[in-house]
């Protein structure tokens, strides 16, 4: 084989190999897509928000987003959240999913900057007072409170008790003393400092009052209002003696001190139910009830699903928990952010619901899914 033939041969082979390589490379290679980023900002470093983080990160992984997660120091720390929003703008994120530590306007300036930068805004857990929020994924706090009341069986009084409470006063209106004396004690409520506590308390009280009224109607008792239906305000005023509202607390220790003060104070005589509106207040109440040896006497209802709360539930210090679906809140929050980026229309709000967890249903599949979303 002479030299020129060899050259031709190798040239042909090289062309064929190059063509094959180009065919392979051309078909396999794809222009690298820039991954979109979503900032997720939550309220404070407790297990509830860890589950929200877990849901958000799972959604990010599944939907192809980088999740930048930040958490504030407490549920009224909006200053940190403003900083996180500004950092997210600098990081050129595509959307911000935030559980605002303010239901008012403190975060609005930062929101406006983000919106101006073309960033989509989604709220989770609670809604901020800003028009640019596309959607809010949360559990209804009113319904959460209502569910807590519906399952607080000891809140319901019998006909004789109710008759005694109402007849003990000259104006046929219940008083705290009458409730303490004849109504098996009052219902103590310990709210946390964030806006969500207001609705949780409102929902709780409203449902308790409705249940008492339903019971009274069933027992043939009636409230004298000149033959008129009671307004909501009248109902609240009339049944106010059934409830003892404590000072709002944000930490476990403060909640413990407040609960202890109520349980041992004059107003706290014969408290039959203690309702706490978030994790820290629930843990504080449980600690006080356990310490005072009132576990059998006081029906404690709390919120959320921290491991310590579950332990109190197992130990019968805690009787029930209103468990939200933080994993779904985080997951759907990021999923909604993606839909917003895709140009889809979203509902103004989405209720992920609450579930009442007691020792009776603690081991149900769905409850286990809510409590341990990562390991399910």
């Amino acid at each position: 084989m002479d030299k020129s033939t060899m050259k031709k041969l190798f040239r042909s082979a090289a062309v064929c190999t190059l063509s094959a390589t180009m065919l392979f490379a051309g078909s396999c290679g794809r222009p690298e897509q820039k991954r979109e980023k979503i900032a997720v900002i939550t309220k404070q470093d407790i297990s509830f928000w860890a589950d929200v983080e877990s849901g958000a990160k799972d959604a990010g992984k599944e939907l192809g987003f980088d999740i930048i997660y930040n958490v504030a120091t407490s549920d009224n720390d909006y200053a940190s959240q403003i900083e996180f929003i500004n950092n997210a703008i600098k990081d050129d994120v595509d959307a911000i999913v935030i559980a605002p530590n303010s239901s008012d306007t403190e975060l609005n300036e930062a929101f406006a900057k983000a919106e101006a930068a073309g960033i989509k805004l989604i709220n989770i857990n609670s809604r901020a007072n800003y028009d640019g929020i596309i959607s809010c994924v949360s559990s209804s706090d009113l319904d959460g409170g209502s569910v807590a009341a519906r399952h607080s069986a000891t809140s319901v009084l019998g006909a004789d008790d109710l008759r005694a409470v109402f007849s003990s006063s000259a104006e046929n209106k219940p008083t705290l003393e009458a409730v303490q004396e004849y109504g098996k004690g009052a219902i103590a409520i310990l709210g946390h400092t964030a806006q969500t506590a207001n609705d949780r308390i409102k929902g709780y009280k409203s449902e308790c009052i409705e249940q008492i009224l339903t019971q009274m109607a069933a027992d043939g008792l009636s409230v004298d209002n000149g033959g008129k239906q009671l307004t909501e305000e009248q109902k609240e005023a009339m049944f106010q003696p059934f409830f003892i509202e404590c000072n709002r607390c944000s930490t476990i220790d403060a909640s413990y001190e407040e609960a202890k003060k109520i349980l041992t104070g004059a107003d706290g005589k014969n408290i039959r139910t203690f309702y706490a509106t978030n994790t820290n207040t629930t843990l504080g109440v449980c600690k006080a009830v356990e310490e005072l040896g009132l576990s059998d006497k006081v029906f404690v209802v709390g919120f959320n699903s921290d491991e310590q709360e579950i332990n109190y539930l197992r130990n019968r210090v805690l009787d029930g928990l209103v468990v939200q679906n933080p994993y779904s809140i985080g997951y759907v929050g990021v999923s909604y952010a993606k839909k917003a980026l895709d140009g889809q229309r979203l509902p103004k709000s989405l209720d992920t619901g609450v579930t009442f967890v007691s020792s009776d249903n603690l081991n149900d599949d769905y409850v286990q899914l809510l409590l341990h979303p990562d390991t399910y």
Partner: protein
């Protein structure tokens, strides 16, 4: 035998090329089959997955519709609850189908498990609702809506609606993940197909190159074989020529180019028993004087000249042999009669005795001869035949030479 071997060695590369082509064809067929099987598998799996999950989704939407009918107090609530129960049965079937599908990613499984847990809880809630609805009042009547205090809004918004929306969200997320997984599988499959097709191309290219080399090698081998055959033919021809020459030299006088004594032996031996023929011998008288006078080279040249002349003059009537130095033997053709032979021998003597110009010298020598009208069986062999002729010729020389004797049979 050698030719068969050479044919076999020439065809071996072509057989090898044919086998190579068959192997390439089999490999490519296998690769195509692999691509087809892989595509079919992905397609089947995708179809089954989407079918199951879409059934779940559509049945769930029907359940949601029925629940709304109950809550809104539209139509027959008991029928709607029964329908919802059937819808959940269909959802369970779809779930069973979905769970049988292999190659589901962990992500899809996790999201599906979330959706499943929520859907099953939703079903339990509806069953609780159904049981509560069917409770009997004090008079044995079905309580229905009254079982919920006449207002089902709280039940719906707090217990059912969140399950509806989260179930839908998780199911939609599962669909999205399955779609993504399908996309990834398709992309991986496409990549695999391209890899396999590239392999097919490379196999074909390499095969073509191999066949090209085989063909070149075969061609080269064929050319080499032809060259070898040609060389062999040349060697063979040379050998034949050499053999011929050797053979010729054995029966030919180198000096005169005439057949020699051995040739005469070969030509006549067979005829001694059966043929009659005329034969004569001639010899220069006193030829030795030429060698002595002019040298052997001259003598040789002289003989060659005489021989050439004799061939010219008598080559057509007789085969002429130079049987010894200057002795020539004439074996007359069969058609030459005795009388004609006698005439020709006279002419031979005249020619041989005529002057010849050799190396610019005119030389003339007389010659003597003998003629023999041979009859079958006269002699046992050529030797005795020549003895008879030589005796007769010597007799002529003894008698002064320059004459012709006839061999007389006794």
């Amino acid at each position: 035998m050698a030719k068969t071997n050479s044919k076999s060695s020439t065809s071996t590369p072509y057989i090898f090329a044919a086998i190579l082509l068959a192997v390439i064809y089999i490999i490519n067929t296998f690769l195509v089959e692999s691509i087809y099987a892989s595509n079919s598998k992905v397609s089947k799996s995708t179809s089954e997955t989407m079918s199951a999950i879409n059934r779940m989704n559509s049945e769930l939407e029907i359940v949601n519709g029925n629940v709304l009918r109950i809550v809104a107090n539209v139509g027959d609530a008991t029928q709607a609850a029964d329908d919802a129960t059937l819808n959940f049965e269909n959802i369970r079937d779809a779930m069973a189908d979905f769970e049988e599908i292999e190659d589901m990613s962990d992500t899809a499984k996790k999201r599906y498990n979330h959706a499943k847990a929520i859907i099953l809880t939703y079903n339990e809630k509806l069953q609780d609702f159904r049981n509560a609805w069917n409770q009997q009042g004090k008079n044995g009547e079905v309580l229905g809506r009254e079982a919920f205090g006449g207002d089902m809004k709280a039940l719906y918004t707090q217990d059912i609606y969140p399950l509806q929306v989260t179930a839908s969200e998780m199911l939609t997320a599962t669909i999205d993940i399955v779609n993504q997984d399908t996309g990834k599988k398709m992309a991986a499959n496409a990549k695999r197909s391209y890899v396999l097709m590239t392999m097919m191309l490379l196999v074909t290219i390499l095969g073509e190159i191999a066949i090209f080399f085989i063909a070149r090698r075969a061609k080269k081998a064929k050319l080499e074989l032809e060259e070898r055959e040609r060389n062999l033919a040349e060697v063979d021809a040379k050998l034949k020529s050499t053999r011929q020459k050797a053979s010729d030299l054995a029966v030919m006088n180198v000096l005169t180019g005439m057949k020699n004594r051995y040739a005469l032996d070969n030509d006549v031996s067979e005829r001694l028993e059966s043929d009659r023929f005329n034969i004569a011998v001639f010899d220069m008288d006193n030829f030795r004087s030429i060698n002595d006078t002019y040298g052997y080279d001259f003598g040789d040249e002289y003989l060659a000249t005489v021989a050439e002349k004799l061939k010219d003059e008598f080559g057509n009537v007789a085969e002429i042999y130079n049987i010894t130095g200057n002795e020539f033997c004439f074996l007359f053709n069969k058609e030459i009669s005795e009388s004609q032979a006698m005439g020709i021998v006279q002419n031979i003597q005249a020619v041989m005795s005529s002057p010849f110009e050799v190396l610019n010298l005119a030389v003339q020598l007389p010659c003597s001869g003998a003629v023999y009208h041979y009859l079958p069986g006269d002699c046992l062999n050529v030797n005795s035949l020549l003895v008879k002729l030589d005796t007769a010729m010597r007799s002529a020389k003894m008698n002064g030479g320059n004459m012709i004797n006839t061999v007389v049979n006794i």
